[in-house]
Amino acid sequence: MSGADWIALLPVIITGATAVVAMVLIAVHRSHGLTLGVTLLGLVLAVLSLWPAASVAPLQVTPLLVVDDFAVFYLGLIIVACVAVALLCHGYFAKCEGRPEELYVLLLLATLGSEILVTSTHFVSFFLGLEILSVALYALTAYLHTRALPLEAGIKYLVLAASSAAFLLFGMALVYAEMGTMQFREIADRLALGTGLHGAMLIAGAALLITGIGFKLGVVPFHLWTPDVYEGAPAPVTAFVATVSKGGMFALLLRFFYGNGGYQTPSLHLVFSIIAIASMLVGNLLALRQRNVKRILAYSSIAHFGYLLVAFLAAGAFAVQAVTFYLVAYFITTLGAFGVIAMLSDGEREADDVDDYRGLFWRRPVIGTVFTLMILSLAGIPITAGFLGKFFIIAAGASSSVWALIIILAVTSVIGLFYYLRIVIAVYAALPGAAEGAVEGAQPRTLSLSATSAGTLIVLAVLLVWFGVYPTPILNLIQVAAAAL
C-alpha cells in the first residue's frame, strides 16, 4: 500500500483504532465519561481526516475498497450519525444500571463495518463489512441484558441476520461461479458484454443477493425483524440500526447497481418495483394499528425505504442525488425522533407508548417542538428536510416517468399521515389549564434530562430546518458525491 492509500483509508483506520484504544482504556480505567470522550475524539479525528482522504480521491485501495467522493460523503454521514448516537447513549445509559462503557466499543465497531460497506467494491469486503456491522449490532441490541425485551430482540436479530447472511453468501458464490469475479465493476462489464441476466445460477444468485440486502434494509417481504428489534433495542441503538446500518447498506446498493447497469434489466426493475410498492403499502398500513411509538417508527421506516427505492428505480440524472438527500434527511429525522424517545425513557422502561407523549409540548416545550419537527419531517411537511427529500424523490420519479410508483407514494404517504398525526396530537393533547389531572396521570415519572442529549437534539432540529429551508450547501456536496459514482 502506498502513502496515498493510507491517507485515503484514514477515516476507516481511525475508527478502528479508536475502538481498540477505547477497549484498552476500559481495561485500565473504567469511566463512562472518559470512554465517551475518547470515542468522540476518535470520531472527530475521523471526520477531520475526510479532507485529506477527499484530496486523494478517487482511489482504488486494493481490489477491495475504493475511496471516491461518494464514499467520502457517506463516510462523513455515517461518522456524524455515530457521534450523535454516542451522545444520545451517554444520557440514556447513565440512567440504566450496568456498565455502559463497552457499548462505545461496539458502536465504533459497528460504524467501522458500515464504513467498509460504503467503500467496498468487492464481494469480500461487502461481506466483511456486513459481518462486522451485524455482529456488533447483535450485542448492541441486547446490551441491556437484564431486561426481557432487548434480549428477545437481540436473539431474533441474531437468528434472522445470520440466516440472511448465509443467503447473501450463497448468492455471492453463485454469481462468482457464473461470472468468475467478485469485483462489482467486472461483474457489470461481463453482464454488459454477455447476454445479461440469464441462466439459472445467475438468477438464483441475484435473488439470494436481493434477499440478503433486502433483509438489512428491512423492506417487505424481508421486514419481519424490524418492529421487534426496533421495539426491543435501547432507543439510541434503534436509532443506530435505523440510520447507520440501513444507510450503509443503501449506499452499497447504489454503488452495486449504478456502477453495474444491472438495474436496467427489466426483471430486476420489476422485482425492485414490487418490493418498493409492497414496502410503502405494508409499512404504512401496519403502522396504523400500533400504539407503540417505536413500532410505529419501525413500520414507518419500512415505508421510507420503499420511498427510497422509488428514487432508486427512477434512475434518472436525479436518482442518486435524490436518494442521498433523502437519506440525509432521514438520518437527521430518525436520530432526532429516537433521541427524544431515549431522552424521555428512564432506567426501567422505554417511553414508547403514545400516552407517554400526552401533553409533552405543554410540559417541555423545547423537546415537544423538536419531536413535532421530527415527526412532521417523517410525514414530509415543509420547512423540514423531509419535505424536500420527498419532493426530490417525486421529482426524480417524474423525470423518468415512473408515474404509478409516485402516485402510490403519494397515496401511501397520506395513509402515513394518519399515524404521524396521532403522535403529534398526543404531544399537544391536554391543554395546561384544561385537564390538570389527566396530565398528572400520564406522567408519573420525573426525568432528569441530560444536557448532552438535549444539545444533540437541538442541533439535529436546527439541521433539519436548515436543510429544509436552505438546502443549497448540502445539495452541492451531494452533487459532487453523486457525480463520483
Partner: protein, 514 residues
C-alpha cells in the same frame, strides 16, 4: 421588500406572542393585534399608492415584486408579486385576522401564546399563498398554512375536534400531494421543452403540453384547489372542520382558507392549462351548480348553527367556481367580489355564532329562540349578516353572485337557471336561521349579555365593508380589473383567441349599482 414584510411580520410576531405568554397572557393578544394592524396598514399603503393608477398594459399588472434565487440547482426562486387580486385578498386576510384575534379574546384562555403563534403563522401562510409566484414557493406556503390550521382545530376546537382536524388534514394533504406531482410533472415537461429547470410561474405559462398530459396536470391542480374551495364531492371535511373549530378557526377557515382554493383556480389552473381548463369547464360548472344547490339544501336541514353556516359556504363558493370556469369578464369580476364578500359575511356569522356559544354554551337552534328581546344588538347584527349571506341587494354578496350569474348566462343558460334556484334556497335558510334562533318565545328563559364594545368594534367594520361592496364596488373592481384582465389576456393569447373583454367594465359598473 414590502411583500417580505407582509409575511415576515406575522411570523416573527407569532414567536414573540408565544414567548410573551410567559409574562402575561394578554401580551400575546396585543402583540398579535399590533402585528396584524401593522400589516394591514402596509397593505393599505400599497393600495393607496396604486389607487387610480390603473395600468392598462396587461404585463405590468404587478404592484410590487421581489425575486431572489433560492435553490439555484432546482431553479427555485423566492418570487413574490402582488397585483390587484392578490392585494385585495391580502387585505381580506389581515382584516379577518384582526377579527379573529378579537373574537378569541375571551374564548381562548389556555395555551394563549401557542394559539396566537398558530393563528399568525396560518395568516402568514395564507398571505404567502396569495403572493407566491414560484410554484415550489407556492406549495411551501400552501403546506405551511396547513399545520397551524390543524392545531387551531385540534387543540382549541369543540367536542369532536381531533376527528375533524384529522379529516381536514387528510383531505387537504392527499389533494396537495397530487398537486405536487402535477407541479413536478409540469416542471419536468417544461425542462424537456425548453431545457431550463424552473418553477417560476411566468416562465411556466405557455409550456407546450400534449392535450392529455395537460388534462392530467390540470386535474392535479384542480383537485387540490377543489378540496379547499370546496367543490361538491370533495367537501365532506368542511362541515366538520368548521363546526368543531374555535371561533377564530372557523373565521380563518371560511373567510380565508376557502379563498386560497378560488385564488388557485384563478391564478394557476386556468392560465397554466387554458385548453384543458376549457375542455373541463362544463364539468366544473355542473359541479359548481350541484354544490350551490346541495349546500343550500343541506343548510336548510341543519339545526346546529355552525353547521348551517358551514354548508352555506359550500353553496356560496359554488358561485365562485361557476364564475371562474365561465371565464368572461363579468363572471370573473363576480367571482372575485363574491370571494371577498363571502369572507366578511360568513366570517361575521361565525363570529356571531361564537359569541352566542360563549354566552349560551350551545349552538343548537332548537335550544335557542326568542333572543331578540334579550340581545337586540346581537340579533340585529345576525339579521344583517344573514341577509347579506342570502344575497340581499345593496350588500356585497349580491353584487358578486349577480355578476357571476350575468356572466354565466352568456355561457350557458341551463346552468344559470339551476344556480338561481340555489339563491332561492338561500333565502329560506337565512330567514330560518333568524327565525329559529332569535324570534319566537323565549322558552328557555335565556338572559345573557348583549354585544360588548369589543364585539361591536369588530362587527361594525364588516357591516360597513359589506355595505360599501354592495353600494359602490367600483374602487374594488378598479383595483383588481387589470389583474383579471392580465389573466384573461394570458389565456386568450395561448388559446389564440381575441381578448374576450366584451364591454366588461361598462356592464360591471351597471351591475355594481343596484
Amino acid at each position: 421588500m414590502i411583500l417580505v414584510w407582509l409575511i415576515g411580520i406575522p411570523i416573527v410576531a407569532g414567536v414573540l406572542a408565544w414567548a410573551g405568554e410567559k409574562w402575561r397572557a394578554e401580551l400575546s393578544r396585543w402583540i398579535s393585534l399590533v402585528a396584524l394592524c401593522a400589516d394591514l396598514v402596509l397593505a393599505l399603503i400599497i393600495w393607496a399608492r396604486h389607487a387610480g393608477g390603473v395600468t392598462l398594459v396587461p404585463d405590468s399588472a404587478w404592484f410590487a415584486q421581489v425575486s431572489w434565487l433560492w435553490i439555484p440547482r432546482w431553479g427555485v426562486h423566492f418570487h413574490l408579486a402582488m397585483d390587484g387580486l392578490s392585494l385585495l385578498l391580502v387585505l381580506l386576510t389581515f382584516v379577518l385576522g384582526i377579527i379573529s384575534v378579537l373574537a378569541s379574546w375571551r374564548e381562548i384562555q389556555d395555551g394563549t401564546g401557542f394559539f396566537h403563534l398558530n393563528l399568525l403563522w396560518v395568516l402568514a401562510g395564507i398571505t404567502g399563498v396569495f403572493l407566491a409566484e414560484d410554484l415550489l414557493l407556492f406549495y411551501f406556503f400552501w403546506e405551511m398554512m396547513l399545520i397551524p390550521m390543524y392545531f387551531l382545530i385540534a387543540i382549541w376546537g369543540h367536542e369532536r375536534r381531533v376527528y375533524a382536524a384529522t379529516k381536514f388534514f387528510l383531505f387537504t394533504q392527499l389533494s396537495s400531494l397530487l398537486m405536487l406531482i402535477a407541479i413536478l410533472g409540469l416542471y419536468v415537461l417544461h425542462h424537456t421543452a425548453t431545457g431550463t429547470w424552473t418553477f417560476d410561474y411566468p416562465a411556466l405559462i405557455g409550456t407546450p403540453l400534449p392535450p392529455n398530459t395537460a388534462m392530467f396536470l390540470m386535474l392535479g391542480f384542480f383537485v387540490a384547489f377543489a378540496v379547499k374551495l370546496p367543490v361538491f364531492p370533495l367537501h365532506p371535511w368542511l362541515p366538520d372542520a368548521h363546526t368543531e373549530a374555535s371561533t377564530a378557526g372557523s373565521i380563518v377557515l371560511a373567510g380565508l382558507l376557502l379563498k386560497t382554493g378560488g385564488y388557485g383556480m384563478l391564478r394557476f389552473v386556468v392560465p397554466l392549462f387554458p385548453e384543458a381548463a376549457h375542455r373541463f369547464a362544463p364539468v366544473a360548472m355542473v359541479l359548481a351548480v350541484i354544490g350551490i344547490v346541495y349546500g343550500a339544501l343541506m343548510a336548510l336541514g341543519q339545526s346546529d348553527l355552525k353547521r348551517l353556516v358551514a354548508y352555506t359556504s359550500v353553496s356560496h363558493l359554488g358561485f365562485v367556481l361557476l364564475g371562474i370556469f365561465a371565464w368572461n369578464t363579468l363572471a370573473l369580476q363576480g367571482a372575485v367580489i363574491a370571494m371577498i364578500a363571502h369572507g366578511f359575511s360568513t366570517g361575521a356569522l361565525f363570529a356571531l355564532v361564537g359569541a352566542l356559544q360563549e354566552r349560551t354554551h350551545t349552538r343548537e337552534m332548537d335550544r335557542l329562540g326568542g333572543l331578540w328581546a334579550v340581545v337586540p344588538r346581537l340579533s340585529g347584527a345576525a339579521l344583517f349578516f344573514a341577509l347579506a349571506s342570502m344575497g340581499l341587494p345593496g350588500l356585497g354578496d349580491f353584487v358578486g353572485e349577480f355578476l357571476v350569474l350575468l356572466g354565466t348566462y352568456r355561457e350557458h343558460l341551463g346552468v344559470t337557471i339551476v344556480a338561481v334556484i340555489g339563491i332561492l334556497a338561500s333565502t329560506f335558510y337565512a330567514l330560518q336561521l333568524v327565525q329559529r334562533a332569535f324570534h319566537g318565545p323565549n322558552t328557555n328563559h335565556w338572559s345573557i349579555r348583549d354585544l360588548l364594545p369589543r364585539e361591536i368594534l369588530m362587527l361594525a367594520p364588516m357591516m360597513l365593508i359589506l355595505l360599501w361592496l354592495g353600494l359602490w364596488p367600483q374602487p374594488v373592481l378598479d383595483t383588481f380589473r387589470p389583474a383579471v384582465a392580465a389573466l384573461q389576456h394570458t389565456v386568450s393569447r395561448q388559446v389564440g383567441m381575441a381578448p374576450a373583454d366584451r364591454s366588461g367594465s361598462a356592464v360591471a359598473r351597471r351591475g355594481g349599482g343596484p
